[in-house]
């Protein structure tokens, strides 16, 4: 019977590790099994894997030690147990080594966090992107309301997004379009309770706090295509309990090329000011393509 129990405590860690190894193949891993589509996301993934390797080594080492002591302990029927109150050197060793490892992990990633969240530490082009956000996303029960700035008739490009709504702002819901390959900023607000802007494929998450406007920046590196090559965008979902419809807040961050993004905004503009009569060519509010 002893063998059975020691076996259990050996088989279970092995099963755990095996299940981790097969997870990517089974799809129980990062969304789409792909690497993150933002540089920040890739740094997060690298950090995740670093910690995973360290943790796996610790897991295996402790379980080997555990299996060893269990095996010998349950086999011991004759002698008295080993009378010892401890070992000072070991204590020192296994205090210093883990603290070193932990401090290393803590300090190693400080700058990733700062780069993402501490405005003073944003690189210059990011600061520009944050000052000129492309959209304001307001989370509400139970959808994402998106407000783009209106289009400047003289340049054909979006104006600067103002904190207060403007008559020519463009509105849509649940479908946030962003251009790829440049830093974009959005402003996150909440209309009612706390929500959280979570885009797994980009590794972005930020709580939307009522009463606050929080800037988020990211740079999407590629479009998200399905197997047939269609652009399907990155799933956007809510990650802070906001009521009964918390799970219903299905949105999408649709990353597309810069040109497609302008075209999208123009389409949005046309749709938003559609009067039932005018045809696409007769958009009086836009004079230049």
């Amino acid at each position: 019977m002893n063998k059975f129990w020691v076996g259990l405590f050996i088989v279970w860690p092995i099963a755990a590790i095996l299940s981790c190894l097969i997870s990517p193949a089974m799809g129980w891993w990062f969304p789409g099994n792909r690497e993150a589509a933002t540089q920040l996301g890739q740094q997060i993934d690298n950090l995740f894997f670093l910690i995973l390797y360290i943790v796996t080594i610790a897991f295996i080492a402790t379980h080997i030690a555990l299996a060893y002591v269990l095996w010998h302990g349950c086999q011991n029927t004759q002698e008295k147990a080993w009378y010892t109150h401890g070992n000072h050197n070991l204590e020192v060793l296994w205090t210093i080594v883990p603290s070193g490892v932990l401090l290393f992990i803590a300090l190693y990633q400080m700058d990733v966090w700062m780069q993402f969240r501490v405005e003073a530490a944003f690189p210059n082009e990011i600061q520009a992107a944050v000052r000129e956000p492309i959209a304001e996303v307001t989370a509400r029960q139970f959808e994402w309301r998106i407000r783009y700035p209106g289009i400047d008739p003289t340049t054909g490009h979006p104006k600067l997004l103002r904190p207060k709504p403007q008559p020519d702002d463009l509105y849509t819901v649940n479908d946030l379009h962003v251009p790829i390959n440049r830093p974009v900023g959005i402003r996150l607000k909440s209309a009612d309770v706390q929500h959280s802007f979570f885009v797994p494929g980009l590794r972005i998450k930020q709580d939307a706090v009522p009463g606050q406007v929080i800037p988020i920046w990211f740079e999407v590196m590629r479009e998200q295509l399905d197997d047939d090559g269609n652009n399907i965008g990155y799933d956007l979902t809510c990650a802070e309990l906001c009521g009964w419809g918390h799970y219903k807040m299905r949105g999408r961050v649709f990353a597309q090329t810069e040109e497609e993004f302008w075209i999208y905004l123009k389409k949005l503009h046309h749709e938003q000011f559609y009067d039932g009569v005018m045809k696409p060519a007769n958009q009086s509010l836009i004079q230049k393509e």
Binding site: A16, T62, G73, P98, I105, V193, G211
Partner: protein, 611 residues
């Protein structure tokens, strides 16, 4: 302090001992219901918390059922409450399920079973006192659980139960119309939490006073069993952290209702329109609640862990017949965990919108709190190292504690790393982590403790074979349920979702969720074995004497169960509690704390061992 003449073994202050050992005939009510005897109170807590464990577990099975068969007929809950829709639950019912599962488990099971049941039962016995410092207060601490349970129960009847999560974040919990369950149900929830807080506070005052003041002669701090160390440190944690939660709870209550004409808006900013009500008139900060709440709730998780750590240390030592490896480091580590535990609360709030600079400070402190836990883990393995034991139910549960605590602790490192936390916050990775530490570690430790101290509580042993079967199915079911949740978290599955499968990136996770539900059902039903064993053995278990495990600490020197007043003779302590396999005695492998060895006997042993 009474002087005890070791030679005669007779207490000089005879009368004092007798005064407490005298039984005044008490009515049934005063003896078993409204008792001030810490042992009865401890057992009352144990019965109540075991029952609430079943309630909390059933709520969890409801959650799992929905995730395995979304929007299909749900057994029991569907028939009782949703017959109009064909047994399909509603989304707000789901939010209530996980809210109440967490609330019941945290406030009505884990905290009371560790501090209320085991703390109460063991502390006076282990320190050599005849009862707690304030026995009547102790009784009240149990009876305050009753209005708490009543409030939580009533909250189901109004608005279907609170639905803002056990974390009860405003604005969702502050505005009565913001959600189903944010009405009267949330109010009753807050009242329930307040009553539980009072119960805990009364308990912690008792524990601190008893441990500091009422130790038997000879029991210095460093001769206390680690169980007592853990209870002392836990009591200090409770005392310092709980008032913050209570204050926050009252602030939220005042935000919800204008009491005495005062309508506060501590947590509610202005201008929000929720459910088409009038815009809020506020100026408050939702984040304030989070700071106050987590200032308590982070120490709370150590309140939910440390006593189990202490008990497991003791159980391992007893059953491996070895001293604890590194007693002082173990004690200091527990103190370090508690101390550091007060400065890490922000790690629950990395993504919350608080100042990101705080994220960096909390990250460092959180990383450091892994250190004492690691030290303890190594010391547990060191305790087993060179030991001599059989795989009985107690050892199995304690070993499970160690291995599952390793997983829980290691998974915590991921979320301590702030950038990684950006991704895994509020996903199932977090759920996996805290279930590994709260269930995998604490609850398995509790299962072991139940088996280990049952003989002292009831004078009989539990059935070890049933205990092992219970352990096996619980262990397998537990890992089948919670290990895959790490993968779900990495896949980005958020918490608290009634139907994750409407999101395309989560659709393929249904089979894994179904596997988890199946494991959870196995694990849930296995608990029937424990309860059956427990209650059956109270009446029909094999009777035992004072010290069935041949253990050292003071409680094993009393009859099983101990009488009112505990000790026939006030004990005197001569050594620490971990002198197992001591060379000082050759014919047995334990040496009780109260056993007096004359200097000649010790010398003999020394020379024998050195020769």
């Amino acid at each position: 302090m009474s002087t005890l003449n070791p030679a005669s073994g007779v207490a000089v202050e005879h009368t004092e001992a007798h005064a407490h050992a005298e039984h005044h005939e008490l009515s049934f009510l005063r003896k078993y219901i409204f008792s001030i005897d810490h042992k009865v109170i401890g057992v009352q807590f144990l019965f109540t918390t075991l029952f609430m464990l079943m309630v909390g577990g059933s709520l969890a099975l409801g959650v799992r059922w929905q995730l395995a068969r979304p929007w299909e007929f749900m057994p029991i809950f569907g028939s009782l409450k949703f017959s109009a829709t064909g047994g399909q639950i509603s989304p707000e019912f789901y939010t209530m399920l996980f809210t109440m599962h967490a609330t019941v488990m945290i406030f009505l099971v884990i905290i009371p079973i560790l501090a209320g049941a085991f703390g109460n039962f063991l502390i006076p016995l282990m320190v050599g006192a005849d009862d707690m410092a304030f026995p009547t207060l102790n009784m009240l601490s149990y009876w305050f659980m009753v209005p708490a349970i009543f409030c939580f129960f009533i909250s189901f009847l109004f608005g279907g139960g609170p639905a803002a999560g056990w974390t009860s974040y405003p604005v969702l919990s502050a505005i009565r119309d913001a959600a189903p369950g944010s009405g009267a149900a949330q109010t009753f929830w807050l009242l329930g939490v307040t009553f539980v807080g009072v119960s805990s506070m009364a308990g912690s005052v008792n524990y601190m006073t008893t441990i500091i003041n009422m130790r038997a002669p000879g029991m210095t701090l460093f001769r206390m069993p680690l169980t007592i160390w853990s209870m002392l440190i836990t009591a200090i944690l409770q005392a310092f952290a709980l008032p913050v939660l209570t204050a926050a709870g009252f602030m939220l209550l005042f935000d919800r209702f204008p009491f005495f004409g005062i309508h506060t808006t501590f947590f509610v900013p202005s201008g929000l329109v929720i459910n088409n009500a009038d815009p809020t008139v506020g100026g408050g900060q939702p984040l304030l609640w989070q700071h106050l709440f987590w200032f308590y709730s982070h120490p709370a998780v150590y309140i939910m862990l440390l006593p189990a750590m202490g008990m497991v240390s003791d159980m391992l030592s007893v059953h491996c017949r070895k001293p604890i490896f590194g007693y002082k480091p173990m004690a200091y580590s527990m103190a370090a965990i508690a101390g550091l535990g007060f400065i890490v609360w922000g790690h629950h709030m990395f993504i919350s919108g608080m100042n990101p600079a705080l994220g960096m400070t909390f990250m460092v402190s959180t990383m450091m709190i892994a250190l004492p836990s690691a030290i303890k883990t190594f010391n547990w393995i060191g305790t087993i190292w060179g030991g001599k034991f059989q795989f009985n139910a107690i050892m199995l549960n304690c070993i499970a504690f160690v291995t599952l605590f390793i997983v829980g602790g290691l998974s915590g490192i991921f979320m301590a790393a702030v950038p990684v936390d950006i991704y895994i916050h509020d996903t199932y990775f977090i759920v996996a982590h805290f279930h590994y530490v709260l269930f995998g570690a604490t609850l398995f430790g509790v299962f072991g403790a139940i088996h280990h101290w049952f003989p002292k509580m009831f004078g009989r042993t539990m059935n070890d074979t049933v205990g092992k079967i219970h352990f096996f199915f619980t262990f397998v079911g537990f890992n089948g349920t919670f290990f895959p949740m790490h993968m779900l978290g990495v896949a980005g599955m958020p918490r608290r979702y009634a139907d994750p499968y409407i999101h395309p990136y989560l659709e393929h996770l249904l089979p894994l969720n179904q596997f988890i539900t199946a494991s959870a059902i196995v694990m849930g039903f296995a608990q029937i074995l424990l309860l059956g064993n427990f209650f059956y053995s109270i009446f029909r278990g094999s009777k035992v004497g004072r010290n069935p495990w041949n253990a050292n600490s003071l409680e094993w020197s009393t009859p099983s169960p101990p009488p009112h007043g505990n000790f026939d003779v006030p004990p005197v302590v001569y050594r620490g509690p971990y002198e197992y396999s001591s060379p000082l005695v050759s014919d047995r492998d334990y040496l009780m704390q109260t056993e007096y060895l004359s200097p000649e006997q010790e010398e003999d042993a020394d020379s024998a061992s050195s020769s």
